[in-house]
């Protein structure tokens, strides 16, 4: 049994793409993984290279008009507002997610997004 588990853990580590434990992501990032991946566009755009950029700039992703026209630049403050209530700061956004009320959880997620420069391990 323990050998079996060891094999499983090993396999999960090798299998980086979809297993949150293989990412440097905080556990709460699982809330985002229904729609996002750090490294590629899904239902939501990839998160690598978002920090410090204007909103809605990931190539190949079809953004809502609302986010495209928002002229937001993603820094800690704008991300904090967006993650608290996406529709409050960008009415009409297609990120139809109620938001995260716990400021501490938002901060952990923003720490991670800030780390995700294109040379980060999770972005390869």
């Amino acid at each position: 049994m323990s050998v079996c588990r060891a094999v499983l853990v090993f396999t999960c580590c090798v299998f980086c793409s979809f297993n949150i434990s293989a990412y440097a992501a905080p556990p709460h990032y699982v809330m985002c993984m229904g729609c996002h991946s750090p490294s590629y566009n899904r239902t939501g755009p990839k998160h690598c290279g978002v920090f410090g950029q204007l909103a809605a700039r990931q190539e190949g992703f079809q953004y809502s008009e609302a986010l495209t026209m928002s002229r937001l630049r993603w820094d800690r403050q704008t991300l904090d507002k967006f993650l608290e209530s996406p529709a409050a700061i960008v009415p009409g956004t297609s990120m139809t997610f109620a938001g995260i009320t716990d400021a501490n959880v938002r901060a952990q997620l923003i720490d991670y997004i800030e780390l995700l420069t294109t040379d980060h391990n999770d972005c390869r």
């Binding site: 396999t11 793409s17 229904g34 239902t43 139809t96």
Partner: protein, 208 residues
């Protein structure tokens, strides 16, 4: 590095989809799954979901209705991804026949979700989101059955959060109710997949 995976269109066209019930009853092997015909029937849930919609606001004219359509369409997009992902798993050749049966059944549920959600979008006067032409799954990382199941489990877990995040946003409570019933289905998929992976199937009391 991720590879772009083009969905085999013939397999995913609505006409060619097996219903969840036909799939469970069949002694499905990979070939019969890939070839199976049959019509997609609208489940009782989908019908009750639609009948509960408020006809007065069933036009895409007001802001709240537009918002409900957008929420539904984001959910539909995620469901399409799940269908494509299970297709990758089913075609990988990595699944034993018993596991393949379960995967095909779960894929059937996701197809039913798409159908129900799309009908709701239509009833609100909107246009339902279709599948993407290409899904960028890292298929080269799927080397074992465990890889495929881990992949599927992560999508199901993500779907639970996505629905949990959508439920409070609907203007029409009937839609929240329908989304909650879909969330329950995704959560069951996740638990079953975890069980098969040898993990605690229900690792907590609350999930957001």
């Amino acid at each position: 590095m991720s590879v772009q995976f083009s969905k085999p269109k013939t397999l995913l066209s609505v006409d060619a989809l097996p219903t969840a019930s036909t799939v469970t009853q069949e002694t499905t092997n990979r070939r019969s799954f890939l070839r199976s015909g049959g019509q997609l029937t609208l489940s009782a849930m989908a019908i009750s979901m639609l009948s509960g919609l408020n006809a007065k606001v069933a036009s895409a004219s007001d802001k709240q209705t537009m918002m409900d359509i957008q929420i539904l369409n984001t959910a539909i997009a995620a469901e399409h991804e799940a269908v494509a992902a299970y297709q990758v798993g089913a075609e990988s050749g990595l699944l034993s026949s018993a596991i393949l049966n379960v995967a095909v059944q779960f894929q059937g549920h996701h197809k039913e979700h798409i159908d129900a959600l799309s009908k709701a979008v239509g009833a609100l006067g909107g246009e339902a989101a279709g599948p993407l032409a290409i899904y960028q799954f890292s298929v080269e990382k799927l080397k074992t059955e465990t890889d495929v199941l881990t992949f599927a489990a992560s999508l199901e877990r993500g779907a639970v959060s996505a629905y949990a995040g959508a439920i409070p946003l609907f203007e029409q409570r009937e839609l929240s109710k329908a989304a909650a019933s879909i969330l329950a289905d995704e959560a069951m998929h996740w638990a079953v997949l975890r069980q098969v992976l040898g993990l605690n199937p229900v690792p907590g009391a609350f999930f957001s």
